[in-house]
């Protein structure tokens, strides 16, 4: 740092030799720059800018030790100059002369009493020679001379980490943080890399320590090591009464929790936000409660979410955006709880507070809720005359579940590929592929079976689809419906049924369905560790339907069945 700090200042100088040296250095002609600096130092051995320039120029050409004659002359000219002492220390480090390093460091320390820099540079010089014990000795010498038990703690922590001594590193980091709390982030980042085998020891060591700093480190480490609730408990017990300090500590943990996956992390996130709300007035209070409600909702903690929302939705003093957000979240909670009528009522009440897209999305979720409850009439009524592409897609589903295949196909086609998210669009395309080979316009039994599926009664859906397929030729929807039934049977753990259905679907009369059925059958066989049968099935698929889009996937499964790649 010192080197770069001096360079711009020197550039302003009028000395032509120095200007030439800087220009050579700027162009990357380091050897010539070094010679020019040497020329300046020959006339003015104590010229700090020239000495630092020479050091800079020699570094990229790996000739740092060649500075020693100029360093000796500079020390003679300016024996207590701090920049000269710094260059001298680094020069002797490059020349690998530990005794000289020590002598210069002591001389430098005497020139700047109370300053850690000489010992820090001394330690760094030892580290550059891969001498970690030497570095520790330098730092400890500094600690002793400065008479401060926390001096150079961060440096000692770094060496301890390099040695793999995590307990010692933690001890030093705690000392460093006590003096400069900003070190906490570095400490946590470094300590979080500790191997599993030492983590519990570190946490025990932290539990022995008092104070907010230790608790914050403990909380951060627990959060990073996959214990978000433990992290919260550690911090909560030590939260100070002072509001800003408590909020700052909670915000730090919140930042960590936000990036942690999993339900426990969401619960912990909700609780942290709740604690922040308790310590915040006015609109901040409402905002944190709303965020807490969202976190609880994401964790499936509906009671807690509802508890957070109570009061915000009906609070006329709450800011408009927060009240609207609370209404939305409350409707989501109600839908999740299956209280569809109440959700619809709340939605109607707060329609004016919401954006159009948000309102439509919630209404469609209510429609889906009615479908899942099997109440197609109310679903249709709730959907109303929604002519958006999402509304058309949902309307197509309602028609499908009623057995009106022609109406469903018409609406699915009108909705096109852009309604809903990618998963919904894919599912709709799959439904179209299922329906199109079927010649009948109406097939209530199929609609009923698919409604069973939408209501998550998969076993009934499989039985229903199997019955429907029995009445259809393979090429006119029978094979496709059996393939779907087979996949569902696989999902609910009925492999024998699945195998029978896949085999019935993998027939030459349905060439569009057969490769998918063969692939599904092979995947089932792989799961059952019937690898030889799976290999035969996959080879049949690849060789019989070489132009099928499923061939690359079949090859992948073939590799898995043969043990050529890791199982996915």
């Amino acid at each position: 740092m010192l080197v770069t700090a001096v360079a711009p200042h020197a550039l302003r100088g009028q000395d032509p030799a120095m200007s030439r040296a800087f220009e050579l250095e700027r162009r990357g002609n380091y050897a010539a720059a070094a010679e020019t600096y040497r020329g300046v130092l020959a006339g003015r051995p104590g010229d700090t800018a020239a000495l630092l320039g020479l050091e800079r120029a020699l570094m990229p050409i790996d000739r740092r030790a060649e500075i020693l004659p100029q360093v000796r002359a500079a020390l003679a000219a300016s024996p207590s100059s701090v920049p000269v002492l710094g260059v001298a220390l680094r020069a002797w480090a490059a020349a690998d002369e530990p005794d000289s390093i020590r002598a210069v460091a002591e001389r430098w320390a005497a020139a700047v009493p109370g300053d850690e820099t000489p010992y820090r540079e001394w330690g760094a010089a030892a580290l550059s020679r891969r001498d970690r014990p030497g570095a520790v000795a330098a730092y400890l010498r500094g600690r002793e001379q400065l008479d401060r038990p926390d001096a150079l703690a961060a440096e000692l922590a770094q060496v301890a980490l390099a040695d793999g001594d995590y307990p010692r590193a933690l001890k030093e980091w705690l000392l460093a943080i006590r003096r400069l709390p900003g070190y906490r982030v570095s400490a946590v980042s470094a300590l979080s890399q500790a191997p599993d085998s030492v983590r519990s020891d570190l946490l025990r060591q932290l539990e022995q320590e008092r104070g907010l700093n230790a608790r914050r480190i403990e909380a951060d480490l627990r959060a990073r090591w996959g214990d978000p609730l433990g992290a919260l408990n550690s911090l909560q017990a030590a939260l100070p009464d002072e509001r800003p300090a408590a909020l700052e500590a909670l915000r730090g943990l919140l930042d960590l929790l936000r990036v942690q996956p999993g339900r426990e992390a969401r619960v912990a996130q909700g609780r942290v936000l709740e604690l922040m709300a308790e310590r915040s007035p006015g609109s901040e209070h409402a905002r944190f409660r709303l965020e807490a409600a969202r976190a609880y909702t994401a964790a499936g903690e509906r009671d807690a979410a509802r508890r957070m929302l109570v009061g915000i939705t009906d609070d006329r003093n709450a800011p408009e955006t927060i009240a609207a957000g609370a209404s939305t979240t409350l409707v989501q909670v109600l839908i999740g709880e299956g209280k569809l009528d109440e959700a619809a009522r709340r939605l109607a009440e707060h329609r004016a507070d919401m954006g159009g897209d948000e309102y439509a999305a919630l209404r469609r979720r209510i429609v889906l809720g009615y479908i899942q409850a099997g109440d197609l009439a109310r679903a249709d009524s709730a959907l109303g005359a929604d002519s958006t592409i999402d509304g058309l897609a949902l309307g197509g589903r309602i028609r499908l579940y009623r057995g009106d295949l022609a109406g469903a196909i018409e609406r699915f086609k009108a909705a096109g590929p852009f309604a809903g998210d990618r998963e919904e669009a894919t599912e709709r395309t799959a439904l179209l592929a299922l329906l199109q080979p079927i010649e009948a316009d109406s097939l209530p039994a199929l609609g009923h079976a698919l409604l069973d599926l939408a209501r998550t009664d998969t076993a009934a859906a499989v039985a229903g689809l199997d019955r429907v397929a029995a009445g259809l030729p393979p090429g006119q929807g029978g094979a496709e419906i059996r393939l779907l039934a087979g996949r569902l049977a696989t999902a609910i753990g009925k492999p024998a049924d699945a195998e029978r259905l896949f085999k019935a679907a993998a027939v030459p009369e349905a060439p569009g369905t057969a490769p998918a059925a063969e692939l599904a059958l092979a995947e089932l066989l792989i799961r059952q560790r019937r690898h030889a049968e799976a290999v035969a099935q996959l080879e049949h698929l690849i060789l019989t339907y070489p132009s099928s889009a499923l061939v690359p996937q079949a090859r992948r499964r073939l590799d898995e069945a043969r043990g050529a790649v890791p199982q996915t």
Binding site: A162, G164, D196, L543, R556, R562, A564
Partner: protein
């Protein structure tokens, strides 16, 4: 070879000699399959398996060095055609007339056709348990569909190596120090298992310590090469094999491995004439630092010395004069991103004279891929752990090679597997 094949091949040979003859229409014969290995190939790695399996079935192939990045010529028999279709390997049908033209092209440039005659019998040196890191060669062999057998210390010391043509070593520590993970990973179940298994094996085989037993294994491997075996080693097996060989009556193992600390003057007392590739290395004295010596240029496990990854460049060789080196560098990429291993690269100044450098990082003081002879056999060392996982960590999931079917790094491994197939004479072991 039956008479009809013989006549057809004779025609091909004659036609190659004279451009005028090449215009003569050849008698009808089974067409050939050209397996391109340039960017037209859909699965470079599996293509090696296709050639290997043909050899296993008793068929013959040719390796067109430097032609379309090292293409293969295979007979278009039913089994080979089916194999290619099942594995998604790109092949191009070739009539005899086209083949004649192609051979003319090979004659004119830095190219050559090497017959592949016999599928080598492959052994992979690996402990019986699953290590918490992947083994690039095992994965490449599995993916390409090349059969192999696993051997470990009892088999090596029991002289079973003589029954194999090709031996692969990977992340093994032949200094007997458990990859120097002993202190940093103390208590990890995989390490406990590794230590117990190695100690039990050393006891069972009558050695006083694991380092002593591992050195005996290293000597047996060097003897295998001396007698005509093909050795391919990656990662830290390269460096530690040579260190173990050179440590004749020198204690280079930490106290946790053999009960006595490392000889403080070990670097000076090593017998480098017994090593295969390296000489005059400075050994790392600290038992905590998972670094063995300055043979490795990258020193990945030493925070102060670790070097950044760059990329390495394959050398060009004369296909007609130096076919062995040419085979080992066949690739569709000349410059390949580097990847770490416990031993990532080989410091140039530590190489013995006579070592052939196959790839290096231009301007860097290290090389990546080297080859040499020892007695009647050859060895090839390739630094790094996993060509498609540049920072492979302990416990990481294995690399799925179906996601890297064009991996140029893995191609180098498979060049080595097929290279012994080009050896015309049987091994004299």
């Amino acid at each position: 070879m039956n008479r009809r094949d013989f006549l057809a091949r004779s025609w091909v040979g004659l036609a190659a000699l004279s451009p005028a003859l090449s215009r003569i229409r050849l008698p009808s014969a089974a067409p050939w399959l050209l397996v391109p290995m340039d960017d037209a190939q859909a699965d470079h790695l599996k293509a090696y398996g296709l050639a290997f399996r043909l050899l296993e079935r008793g068929g013959r192939a040719e390796w067109f060095l430097n032609y379309r990045s090292g293409a293969f010529l295979l007979p278009a028999d039913a089994a080979t055609t089916r194999d290619a279709a099942l594995n998604g390997i790109t092949t191009e049908r070739l009539e005899d007339g086209q083949l004649v033209q192609l051979r003319g092209e090979l004659q004119g440039g830095n190219m050559d056709a090497v017959p592949l005659e016999k599928a080598p019998k492959v052994a992979v040196y690996a402990p019986p348990n699953a290590a918490p890191w992947d083994d690039a060669v095992t994965m490449a062999l599995n993916y390409a569909g090349i059969g192999f057998e696993k051997v470990w210390d009892p088999e090596v010391l029991g002289a079973k190596l003589r029954t194999y043509d090709w031996l692969h070593l990977h992340h093994e520590d032949f200094t007997g120090q458990y990859s120097k993970f002993f202190l940093n990973y103390a208590g990890s179940p995989w390490l406990v298992d590794m230590v117990e298994r190695n100690r039990a094996t050393a006891r069972q085989l009558g050695y006083p310590s694991v380092p002593a037993e591992k050195r005996a294994v290293a000597v047996a491997i060097a003897d295998y090469v001396q007698r005509g075996g093909f050795l391919f080693a990656m990662c830290t097996a390269t460096e530690t094999l040579d260190l173990a060989l050179a440590a004749d009556r020198v204690d280079i193992a930490a106290a946790y491995a053999d009960g006595t600390p490392m000889d403080s003057d070990a670097s000076r007392r090593m017998h480098w004439d017994e090593a295969l590739a390296f000489q005059h290395a400075e050994l790392e004295q600290s038992p905590v630092v998972p670094v063995y010596s300055d043979i490795d240029g990258h020193q990945v496990n030493s925070p102060e010395r670790r070097q950044q990854l760059g990329s390495f460049t394959l050398f060009n060789f004369s296909a007609k004069i130096d076919p062995v080196a040419t085979m080992l560098v066949q690739n569709h990429r000349q410059v390949i991103p580097d990847f770490y291993g416990l031993t990532t690269s080989f410091t140039r100044k530590r190489l013995k004279p006579g070592v052939t450098v196959l790839a290096d990082e231009p301007g860097a003081p290290w090389v990546k891929y080297i080859h040499g002879e020892h007695g009647q056999g050859t060895w090839t060392f390739f630094g790094g752990h996993d060509p498609e996982d540049p920072q492979h960590q302990i416990g990481d999931v294995p690399t799925d090679l179906s996601l890297h079917p064009h991996s140029p790094g893995y191609r180098l491994i498979l060049n080595n597997v097929l290279f012994p197939a080009a050896k015309k004479k049987e091994l004299k072991t």
